[in-house]
Subunit: 416 residues, 2 copies
């Protein structure tokens, strides 16, 4: 089999841990698999470098910040390759530009365009383990770029697609994807298999195991991901682009469930804009300056107009709240809307499940469960496979548990 | 003027110091000069990385060690470029492979072959400051290489040659080249001008201000070097490839002196091999295996043969003593020589001066001074412009002072 293994910062947290990673890679290699390893910077290293830069400059998306941050993964690949050779495994490290992980030129959040798999295949054919620096790429002019936080997941999935790997194993300190955050709900259960679409919703709704963009990439390029623990051989969760990706794998469990998981995102602020003159294009006029400023507007609710005026509510990440406020203040004179209220003590709780498509009544069950628990829902937004509810932050944990119970997610075969 | 400035690890020792370096570069740029800056890793960083690697592997010359160590300079160029931009100076960093500092493939001590100056000229033409990572290069296959300890000096001189710079300024925490180590001899005086040839002897004899290979390169490619202090605008010593390099500069002082400086090297072990059968090729047979092992054999003395046998003495760096011993032990049965004695409590003290060529009697004056001071000379070796004497290490400091006095090097116009 051809396998990509990705080890994150906590797996590479110390020289000792890098030794354990090398042991694990060596075992996989000894089984006769062709192995490409993608690694992150050692835990804490990226933050250390950002802090250094912050004392000299406050340009977070500068070309030079990428030059700086890329060193973190460079240290990791060199140390892991050395540790592998010390174990008698021929290994060779590659930087982003050496496997030509070509990206656009948006420093700090570059997007992968192509990968030159030829040098990787050359090494694999010789029986060598290939160790690739995650998180980094190179643009057309040879400048170093980085892919943004969690970008090593994306590097791994893109590498798996480029070499047509049989699986992309993402290692971290948790042993898979859970029905919800075990720190909030003790009954959370590990999911054996989840579709990319569901994972995508969970990831963008606050689940931190996998970076959302990497799941998107996996879906598009049909890469099967397995999330596993670095320090525990058992367990693991498969994230699959579609049913039947892995030959012989029973996808019934996946298809039978209506709800797969519960996510929550506390990094949310709610805005309400009242008395908006209800003319065509009003909503667009309101959101245009936010979009221009790359503010990620999420749940949007517009009330039915009354007396020619309506109210709009929406959420933004907490970090964008101040900027959003400024933009709205600037907009008010020309648009003539009323008061703007902000509440940043809110959270977004969501249920996700591909089965919702064919099962009506899921939303109703969720709202009933919340109502019975006395939890007031402020905003609701739905997609084909998810229902998000904005609630007061003091209800967040209760809401997660209530929804987890309502769909019996603690039981194998639950979620119906 | 087109100027290359090189800042070493101590100049880049902290964020604050990097700020001071940026101030200095910005001042030079503001004077209208085209500036290329070459930097080392932040002080202590290379050692930290070597220690990390040492806990996983003991291959000091591995390809991956170069990948690891190259990150040190990468951090430096990014931070300095950021600091310059913060000061309103457009700056752009370049890694070894981005200016294509092409080297051979000898990891850990690669030799520079060519540099592609085109991207540097592009930036300089736009008025940008160019910040280049010292110490690193790239081989023909795109692998990262490093130039060995002190390699950033070489990077700077090579860069100066490539862009035909008017001067290559090497900044450190000392304000120039001294007639001898001021820690040993309080009367040491800063030299205003010294020839590359003299500097080459001083550098290879233990003076640490400039890496010997960089001086060699400067001599060959006619680069004028100026050694200065990062934290002190005054002072500085010119190292010149030949008289008249700098227009209008008075070279008389340089030519008038017989002795320019006194160097000492305590990293020395002395070997004596007795009773060597004196047949043609005996010395070659003895030194061949040492050369094959890249052991740097220095002062070599052979006694006149007596009864068909002779004695050979030579010095090697202390770190090579054990290996030299092993190689000699292996050689003894086939060559049939006698006892091998080793003394690693020795030091090599040398006087250097281009004027020796035309001034006989310099050696005699040195030996007389040593004799009067009661210092026993164990081995002597001379070249056109230097005289080296191996002495017991307990006499090292006394020998340096005696020789410094004997040629009145503490006085301007001394050394005669």
């Amino acid at each position: 089999m051809r396998i990509v293994q990705k080890y994150g910062g906590s797996s590479m947290g110390s020289v000792e841990r890098i030794g354990l990673v090398a042991d694990r890679v060596a075992r996989t290699h000894a089984l006769g698999h062709a192995v490409v390893v993608v690694v992150s910077a050692m835990q804490g290293e990226t933050d250390r470098l950002i802090k250094l830069a912050g004392r000299l400059s406050d340009r977070p998306r500068d070309r030079e910040i990428d030059v700086l941050l890329a060193t973190g993964e460079q240290v990791s690949i060199a140390l892991l390759a050395l540790a592998l050779r010390e174990r008698g495994v021929e290994a060779r490290s590659f930087l982003g530009h050496q496997v030509r992980i070509l990206t656009d030129s948006i420093h700090g959040s570059a997007r992968i365009q192509t990968i030159d798999a030829a040098p990787v295949h050359d090494c694999l054919d010789k029986g060598e383990v290939v160790v690739v620096a995650g998180f980094q790429g190179v643009d057309q002019d040879g400048n170093i770029t980085t892919l943004g936080r969690g970008g090593s997941d994306l590097s791994a999935v893109a590498m798996a697609a480029a070499i047509k790997a049989d699986a992309c194993e993402i290692y971290s300190d948790v042993d898979g994807i859970y029905t919800t955050d075990p720190n909030i709900c003790a009954k959370a259960r590990r999911i054996d298999r989840i579709s990319c679409e569901e994972m995508l919703e969970l990831a963008s709704l606050g689940a931190k195991v996998l970076q959302a963009r990497s799941v998107e990439f996996a879906l598009k390029h049909k890469v099967a991901i397995c999330c596993k623990s670095t320090f525990d051989e058992s367990g693991g969760s498969w994230v699959l682009p579609d049913a039947g990706t892995l030959e012989g794998m029973d996808m019934a469990g996946l298809e039978g469930a209506v709800v797969t998981g519960v996510a929550c995102d506390r990094n949310t602020a709610r805005f309400s804009v009242s008395d908006i003159p209800n003319r065509p294009g009003a909503a667009a006029a309101l959101f245009q300056p936010l979009a221009d400023d790359a503010i990620n507007v999420d749940v949007i609710i517009q009330t039915a107009p009354r007396d020619g005026r309506c109210e709009l509510s929406f959420t933004v990440p907490k970090g964008s709240a101040l900027r959003t406020r400024q933009l709205l203040d600037r907009l008010r004179p020309q648009m003539g809307f009323g008061a703007v209220t902000i509440d940043d003590n809110v959270a977004k709780v969501s249920i996700v499940g591909a089965g919702m498509r064919s099962q009506p009544g899921v939303a109703l069950r969720a709202f009933q469960a919340m109502g019975q628990a006395g939890i007031d829902i402020q905003l609701i937004s739905t997609s084909e496979i998810k229902i998000s509810m904005v609630v007061d932050d003091r209800f967040t944990e209760a809401a997660v548990r209530v929804l987890h119970d309502a769909f019996a997610l603690d039981r194998a075969g639950g979620g119906r």
